[in-house]
C-alpha cells in the first residue's frame, strides 16, 4: 500500500460520507478489514446534499490535499433527491476549483452503498494513490494558518 513506500509526504484527506449509504459502507469496509491508508479521515453528514461547497473550500484552505464526497447511488438517496443536488453542486465546484489550480484529481464524488465495503476501500486506495501522484496541494492554502 502507498503508506509504507512514501514516508516523506502524508496527504491530508477529508472524506464526507452520507450517514445512510457511504458511512455504512465505510463501516462495512472496517468490519470486513478492508484496509486503506490512514490519511483518509471521515466526516459523517446526514446526506451528501448537506455538504456545502464552503466546507470543501475550507478544507483546502486549511491544508487538505484531497477531498472526496461519498453518497448513495443515484436513485437510492435516503432523502430521495439529495445526491442529485450534491452531484450538480460538486460538478460546478470542482470545475471552478480546477480553474483556480486545484487539479480535478484532488476532488472526487463517489457513490458507495451500505453494501459496498469493497468499493469504499478500493475507492479510498485509488484516491490516496492519486493524491500521492499530485503531491502537496498549495493552491488555496491560507498561509497565515501554516505553523
Amino acid at each position: 500500500m502507498s503508506i509504507e513506500k512514501t514516508n516523506e509526504f502524508r496527504p491530508k484527506i477529508v472524506a464526507f460520507c452520507c450517514n445512510w449509504c457511504s458511512y455504512a459502507g465505510a463501516d462495512l469496509a472496517g468490519s470486513s478489514r478492508l484496509g486503506y491508508p490512514a490519511d483518509v479521515k471521515i466526516i459523517r453528514v446526514p446526506c451528501s446534499c448537506r455538504v456545502n461547497p464552503m466546507f470543501i473550500l475550507r478544507a483546502f484552505e486549511k491544508g487538505a490535499d484531497g477531498v472526496i464526497l461519498c453518497g448513495c447511488h443515484p436513485g437510492d438517496c435516503h432523502y430521495t433527491t439529495g445526491n442529485y443536488y450534491a452531484r450538480r453542486r460538486m460538478t460546478l465546484l470542482f470545475s471552478m476549483l480546477d480553474y483556480l489550480g486545484v487539479e480535478n484529481g484532488r476532488t472526487r464524488v463517489e457513490w458507495v452503498s451500505a453494501a459496498e465495503g469493497v468499493k469504499f476501500s478500493t475507492t479510498m486506495n485509488e484516491f490516496v494513490e492519486k493524491i500521492h501522484s499530485l503531491g502537496k496541494n498549495v493552491r488555496l492554502e491560507d498561509l497565515r494558518c501554516r505553523n
Binding site: K41, V45, P46, F55, R58, K62, D76, C77, Y79, G82
Partner: protein
C-alpha cells in the same frame, strides 16, 4: 465554554490492539474544553456506562465524546447513558476509532495518530453542540404489505392477529406467490397447495386484512408512522362484487392463445382468466392486451355468457390513497432468464426446462395434468438429467455470484418424487457441491441417493446438444472419477438461479430503502437487524431480502410482523431533532429552500422582527420540524446562509474539517 469528557474504549483488543488507547486519552486531555479523559475496556458495558454517568455528575460535564465503534452501533447507547445522568442526549458525539481506524490499519503509530485526530474532530464538534429536544409524531395504526406470496400472507396474518389493520397489495390477479406454483415441498413432501390454500383463505377472510390484488403501489410519501401511499387498482374488467367465480367466461372465451404465465408458458390460457383454480379472489381478470374485444371491438362473448352480469369492459384503473404506520416489503423472486445459457440448449429444445417448469409439469393441475412427459412429443422420459447451479455461484456476468440456496434441496425433492412415481426413469444430477444445511435436510438428500438410487455426479455439464432423433446429448465431467461423461437424456432440468423480482428497484426507490448489488433489499444490520430496512418503518419479509426456502420465509415473515407490531403499538414516535432551522434575521424570504426540500417541510410566514432597532414585517422561511427529515439540502441551497441544520451545523462541520486538517 463547554466542559467536555472524553471516554476511549479498548473494545477488548478490537481497538487496543492497534490503537494506543492511553495515548489517545493523553492527547485528548490537552484539547480545549476537555476536563476529563479516561479509557476503559468496554465503554458500552454497564460498568463503562457507569463511568460516563459518574464523570458527568462529578465533573459537571456539558458534553461528552466517546471514542469507540461506529455511531451506527452504539450512539443510542451512549446518548441514553448521558440522558440518565441528566445530560441532554444530543450533547454526545462519537469518534469512530474501530471501523474507521483500528480495524483497517495495521501500523500502531499511524492508527493511534489517526485516532487522536478523529477524537479531536469529535471534541471540536461537541464544543459547538447545543441541547436538542425530540419532538413527537403520531402513528397510523395500519400496516401495508407489498407482495402477497407466502411471506406477505404470513406477515399480514401475524399483524392482523395482533389486532391491527393490514392491507396486502399484490400485483398479480391472485395472492399465493411462487408457492402456489409448486407441486410438493421439501423436506416433508407435503403438497404445496394443501398447506398454502388454507393460509390464503384465512388471510382473505380475516376481518382485519384487506387485499388489493391486480394492484400496484404507485407512490409513497411520508415517513415512519405516517406513510401516505397511492395504490393503483388496475382495471379488472370484472365486477368483484357481482362475479360468482363460476368460470363460464373462461371456458367460452374464444381467445385462448395467450401463454399461461402461471404454467411458465408451457400451455396457453384464455384472455379472461384466473391464474389457478384456488386463486384468491376467485374472480377473473381480462388481459386487455390479448382480448379480442379490446383489440378489435368485436367479441364480447364473456359479457353474454356471464349470468351475474359481472363483466365491465369500461372499468378504469382506480387510485386509492391510504395512510400506514409501517410498510413490509415481501415482493419475492423470479428465476433468471436463461437466454444467455445457449450451451444448455434451453431456447432450442422444449425438453430442456427449468425446475419451476418441472414443478408445473408434476402438478396435477399443470399443463400435463401431472404426467411426467416431454413437452415436445408427450412421451414419457426414460433418462432425466438435472443440472445444478445454472447461473448461481457464477463468476461471469451472465449469472449471479451468490448461491440460490434452495436448488440443491428442490432437486433432491424432484429426483425423489420422480423415482418414487416412475421407478423406471433414471435420474442423474450434475452438481458442484450439494448444500444441505437445515433441519432434516441432509437426511432428505441422503434418502434421494440411498433409498431412491438417484445418480449424483460431481461435475459440470459443458454442453447439451439436441439430436435429430429428439434426444439430448449431455456432455459433462465427473470430477471424482476424473473422466468425461457423454450421456443421452430425454429431458434436462436446469436449476436456474433465483433473483429478486424485477420491480423491486422501483419499490426500493419509492421507499428510499436500499438494495444491494444483486437487487436484494438490504437489512439494517446483517446480523442484528435482519428484518428491518435501514429506512425507519420499512420491514423485509421473504426472498426479497435474500434466497430462502419456505420455512425460513415464514420465520422471517413472523419476525417482520413482530417489528411492525412493535411500531404500531406505539401511540407516539419521538422524532429526530436534528432538523433545519432558519435564522430570522438572515433569511430574505427568497424561497430557494422550499424548492429543494423533498418533504415540503418549509413554509413562509410574515412576522414582525426587530433588526437592530428597526421594527418591520418580514417574510421568512419556517421549518416544520415534524416534517423535516434533516437531510440538509436547504442549508446548502440558502443563498443568505440563514438555513442551518441542528446537530450538523455549518460551524460544527467546519470545526471537524479544521480539526482534521490541523
Amino acid at each position: 465554554m463547554q466542559r467536555i469528557g472524553v471516554f476511549v474504549c479498548h473494545c477488548g483488543s478490537n481497538i487496543a490492539a492497534t490503537v494506543d488507547v492511553k495515548k489517545v486519552v493523553e492527547m485528548a486531555a490537552l484539547e480545549p474544553g476537555v476536563v476529563h479523559a479516561e479509557d476503559y475496556q468496554y465503554m458500552c458495558s454497564e460498568a463503562g456506562q457507569a463511568k460516563i454517568d459518574a464523570a458527568i455528575k462529578e465533573k459537571n460535564l456539558t458534553g461528552i465524546v466517546v471514542c469507540s465503534c461506529s455511531p451506527r452501533m452504539h450512539e443510542t447507547t451512549f446518548r441514553n447513558a448521558a440522558k440518565r445522568a441528566g445530560l441532554n442526549p444530543y450533547m454526545v458525539e462519537i469518534a469512530n476509532i474501530r471501523e474507521h481506524c483500528s480495524w483497517i490499519h495495521k501500523n500502531m503509530e499511524e492508527a493511534t495518530k489517526k485516532a487522536v485526530i478523529l477524537a479531536r474532530a469529535a471534541i471540536a464538534k461537541v464544543s459547538l453542540n447545543t441541547p436538542l429536544q425530540q419532538g413527537e409524531s403520531r402513528v397510523t395504526k395500519r400496516a401495508l404489505v407489498i407482495g402477497g406470496g407466502i411471506a406477505g400472507i404470513q406477515t399480514a396474518l401475524d399483524i392482523a392477529e395482533a389486532g391491527y389493520e393490514v392491507d396486502i397489495v399484490e400485483k398479480t390477479p391472485s395472492i399465493g406467490g411462487r408457492m402456489s406454483q409448486l407441486d410438493k415441498t421439501f423436506p416433508t413432501l407435503d403438497c404445496s397447495a394443501c398447506i398454502l390454500t388454507p393460509k390464503m383463505v384465512e388471510a382473505s377472510a380475516h376481518e382485519k386484512i384487506n387485499i388489493y390484488t391486480y394492484s400496484e403501489v404507485e407512490k409513497v410519501s411520508g415517513f415512519v408512522g405516517d406513510f401516505t401511499v397511492d395504490i393503483r387498482k388496475k382495471a379488472r374488467s370484472v365486477n368483484m362484487d357481482k362475479c360468482t367465480g363460476c368460470g363460464v367466461c373462461q371456458e367460452k372465451c374464444p381467445s385462448k392463445k395467450t401463454p399461461n404465465e402461471f404454467n411458465r408458458g408451457l400451455n396457453t390460457r384464455s384472455a379472461i382468466y384466473t391464474p389457478f383454480a384456488q386463486a384468491i379472489p376467485n374472480v377473473p381478470v381480462i388481459d386487455r392486451e390479448h382480448c379480442t374485444k379490446f383489440k378489435t371491438g368485436k367479441c364480447g362473448v364473456c359479457a353474454k355468457v356471464c349470468q351475474a352480469g359481472a363483466i365491465e369492459y369500461d372499468q378504469q384503473d382506480e387510485i386509492v390513497t391510504e395512510k400506514y404506520g409501517a410498510i413490509v416489503v415481501a415482493t419475492g423472486f423470479d428465476v433468471i432468464k436463461l437466454d444467455q445459457y445457449d450451451e444448455y440448449a434451453y431456447s432450442q429444445s422444449p425438453d430442456v426446462i427449468t425446475s419451476l417448469e418441472l414443478e408445473r409439469i408434476m402438478n396435477a393441475a399443470g399443463p400435463t395434468k401431472g404426467h411426467l412427459e416431454r413437452i415436445s412429443d408427450h412421451k414419457a422420459p426414460k433418462n432425466m438429467v438435472f443440472i445444478q447451479c445454472v447461473g448461481s455461484r457464477c463468476a461471469d456476468k451472465r449469472g449471479k455470484s451468490y448461491c440460490s440456496k434452495i436448488c440443491c434441496m428442490y432437486t433432491a425433492k424432484h429426483a425423489m418424487l420422480i423415482r418414487d412415481k416412475y421407478p423406471d426413469v433414471n435420474v442423474t444430477v450434475f452438481y458442484i457441491d450439494v448444500r444441505t444445511p437445515g433441519k432434516n435436510f441432509d437426511e432428505f438428500y441422503r434418502r434421494a441417493v440411498e433409498e431412491y438410487g438417484v445418480n449424483y455426479i460431481k461435475g459440470q455439464v459443458g454442453k447439451v446438444a439436441p439430436q435429430p432423433n429428439g434426444q439430448l446429448l449431455v456432455q459433462g465431467v465427473d470430477l471424482i472419477d476424473n473422466k468425461q461423461i457423454l450421456m443421452e437424456a430425454d429431458m434436462v432440468v436446469l436449476a436456474a438461479a433465483i433473483e429478486p423480482n424485477k420491480d423491486v428497484r422501483k419499490i426500493a426507490t419509492m421507499l428510499t430503502a436500499s438494495i444491494d448489488t444483486n437487487n436484494f433489499l438490504t437489512e439494517a444490520h446483517p446480523k442484528l437487524r435482519p428484518v428491518e430496512s435501514p429506512t425507519a418503518g420499512v420491514f423485509l419479509s421473504g426472498v426479497c431480502q435474500g434466497p430462502k426456502d419456505i420455512p425460513e420465509t415464514v420465520a422471517q415473515a413472523g419476525a417482520a410482523a413482530v417489528k411492525a407490531i412493535g411500531l404500531l403499538a406505539k401511540d407516539k414516535l419521538l422524532t429526530n431533532p436534528c432538523t433545519a432551522k432558519s435564522d430570522e434575521l438572515l433569511c430574505n424570504g427568497c424561497s430557494t429552500c422550499a424548492n429543494v426540500c423533498p418533504y415540503g417541510a418549509i413554509s413562509y410566514i410574515d412576522k414582525e422582527v426587530n433588526d437592530h432597532g428597526i421594527r418591520e414585517t418580514r417574510h421568512f422561511a419556517q421549518v416544520n420540524s415534524a416534517l423535516c427529515q434533516g437531510c440538509g439540502a436547504c442549508t446548502v441551497a440558502c443563498p443568505s446562509g440563514a438555513m442551518d441544520l441542528q446537530g450538523f451545523s455549518n460551524r460544527q462541520i467546519i470545526a471537524e474539517v479544521d480539526a482534521i486538517c490541523r
